[in-house]
């Protein structure tokens, strides 16, 4: 296990420390890099572009994550109930999108959203007026949410389903003998059984939401006007360091986002485990 620890230290700990170190400096066009103390952090806390992105991913988080996990939970319960025709087919087919590369997923949906290449044109022709137009300011975040949901519903379903499988069959037998119906069993046995897995799935989803990058970046290639250079904090950090050459400030943004994420994930974990007791 020593090789792992060495690799771990090199690939995770070193960059982390280095990025903290970087965040204490300032890059200037003239005069090079100078020590700046915590000035970058002060800038970050008053930076409307950063908070615009944070607001956007928070909104995304609050709406998309519950929908995705809700669907995943219903699907996991349905498959576990044994009342489906073709249960293993469902399990594999729903999980399949997880194997599709994010780039390809966005490409497919991105084209399908397009009214010439895709399906929205056909839908709009059918109803006779422009019912859906994903490439507008009001719709684009929903459009991104849909892609992310599509990619990860099956993955979350499988995590929850695996947790359901660990419930011993005797418990269901006992419940059935006591006259509990399906809904009672779901509420009193199954939901408590998946709580731990649900907390983990929630935390992973929170991490994913705060790091939102791929989907908007690729959609930007299809529809450049709708996605700004600071659409999400991650895109902002990327543009700062690779387009704007403000490496130190990019490191600061990354650290601030890391802290925000850690705090939110920690609160979720506390709440999740407290309810368990």
């Amino acid at each position: 296990m020593t090789p792992f620890l060495v690799a771990f230290a090199l690939m995770i700990v070193t960059p982390l420390v280095y990025s903290m170190y970087l965040s204490l400096f300032r890059n200037q066009l003239m005069g090079g890099t100078t020590f700046a103390g915590f000035a970058n952090y002060v800038t970050a806390f008053g930076d409307p572009k950063l908070w615009d992105g944070v607001g956007r991913v928070s909104l995304f988080l609050v709406v998309q994550v519950p929908i995705m996990l809700g669907i995943a939970l219903i699907a996991a319960l349905a498959i576990d109930s044994g009342r489906l025709h073709g249960k293993s087919f469902f399990r594999v087919a729903l999980f399949l999108p997880y194997a599709v590369p994010g780039v390809v997923a966005v490409l497919m949906w991105g084209f399908m959203y397009d009214d010439r290449l895709g399906l929205t044109g056909s839908v709009n022709d059918l109803v006779g007026f422009p019912l859906i137009d994903p490439y507008t300011k009001q719709w684009i975040l929903t459009a991104i949410g849909n892609i992310v949901t599509w990619e990860f519903v099956g993955y979350n379903m499988l995590i929850l389903y695996a947790a359901l499988k660990t419930v011993p069959l005797e418990i269901y037998e006992a419940a059935a003998i006591d006259g509990a119906n399906q809904f009672r069993i779901v509420r009193s046995i199954k939901i408590p059984a998946v709580r731990g897995a649900l907390v983990i799935a929630t935390i992973f989803s929170i991490l994913g939401s705060f790091q939102l990058f791929n989907e908007p970046t690729i959609l930007k290639q299809i529809e450049p006007a709708l996605i700004s250079t600071y659409y999400t904090p991650n895109i902002y950090a990327y543009n700062l360091s690779f387009v704007g050459n403000q490496v130190s400030y990019a490191a600061t943004v990354a650290i601030v986002m890391g802290l925000v994420t850690a705090v939110v994930a920690y609160v979720v974990q506390l709440r999740g485990t407290r309810r368990e007791i």
């Binding site: 960059p15 982390l16 280095y18 469902f90 399949l96 895709g118 599509w150 037998e173």
Partner: protein, 287 residues
């Protein structure tokens, strides 16, 4: 009889239909893609997305993808294979060895190591990406294959899965018995533990394979040279070419290229997905 009826529940049409809707949602984009790879560029833009239209151009499209830009697609395919075999393979070996070690041997600082690794799962990948890039550029590693492979080698989540799985699947008594019989630690690991760990290893390997095959962000920041691109980054490049201002529209290339990119990973996935079940099962015992 009540227990019997629970174990053999009545099939429900309503539930099947409900999940059927979800199923259609899941495969809708893939279906659209299956029809689209058979179309020529003009037909793509003018026909209904979920049915055939115009001449059957699938083989022409494949040929166009493979020969575009002197066969750069095949080069990207080869690069992706290298990243997956070395990166994901290495990640699996490291995670297995370390997870097994953490689960089965007591040593000083073990809990501290575990806490740090768990914390690392929660570190946003992008908080690391920019500083990793800067470090690599100082070491002269950017724009080389190593820049993509090295960070892929570390998978805290894989290690966590292997740790939990080792703790469950390999009883300590067996190891003690082997020790009493005079088997060395390495021999025990290769003759006994490895076999018990197999489902967990496949699970970790599959997560690593999917993650490396689909990796986009890391190659995006590390690589400038299109000759080193993995498939997904190449596709992104084509998309940029296709939709830029004054660009030649090559949507048929992008779509057929995407199709060829997902076929191998989907096949691997379908063949090996049943192992994930048992691997994840053990993972969720502790979770």
């Amino acid at each position: 009889m009540a227990a019997y009826s629970y174990l053999r529940p009545r099939r429900s049409i309503t539930l099947t239909v409900l999940l059927g809707a979800l199923l259609i949602y899941s495969i809708l984009p893939l279906t659209w893609m299956l029809f689209s790879v058979t179309k020529t560029q003009p037909e793509l833009l003018s026909s209904f997305g979920l049915w055939f239209s115009g001449p059957f151009a699938f083989f022409d499209n494949v040929q166009a993808v493979l020969t575009h830009d002197d066969g750069v697609f095949l080069k990207w395919f080869g690069n992706t294979l290298v990243y997956v075999v070395v990166g994901a393979g290495g990640a699996t070996v490291l995670a297995t060895a370390a997870g097994y070690g953490l689960a089965k041997y007591r040593f000083r600082g073990r809990n501290a190591v575990f806490a740090v690794i768990l914390g690392a799962i929660a570190v946003p990948g992008t908080a690391l990406a920019v500083p990793t890039f800067l470090l690599f550029s100082q070491w002269g590693l950017t724009n080389t294959m190593w820049a993509v492979i090295l960070p892929s080698l570390v998978s805290p989540f894989g290690l966590y899965l292997m740790w939990v799985f080792s703790a469950e699947a390999v009883p300590t008594e067996i190891l003690e018995a082997a020790r009493v019989d005079g088997s060395g630690e390495w021999r025990t690991f290769f003759t006994i533990s490895l076999r018990l760990l197999a489902p967990g290893i496949v699970t970790v390997a599959l997560f690593a394979i999917v993650a490396t095959w689909n990796n986009y962000f890391l190659p995006l920041i590390m690589l400038n040279d299109p000759d080193l691109y993995p498939l997904v980054l190449g596709l992104y490049q084509w998309l940029a070419d296709a939709s830029g201002i004054g660009a030649q529209p090559v949507f048929n290339l992008v779509i057929t290229g995407s199709f060829l990119t997902i076929v191998p990973i989907v096949l691997v996935f379908l063949v090996l997905q049943r192992y994930w079940q048992s691997g994840l099962n053990a993972g969720s015992v502790k979770a």
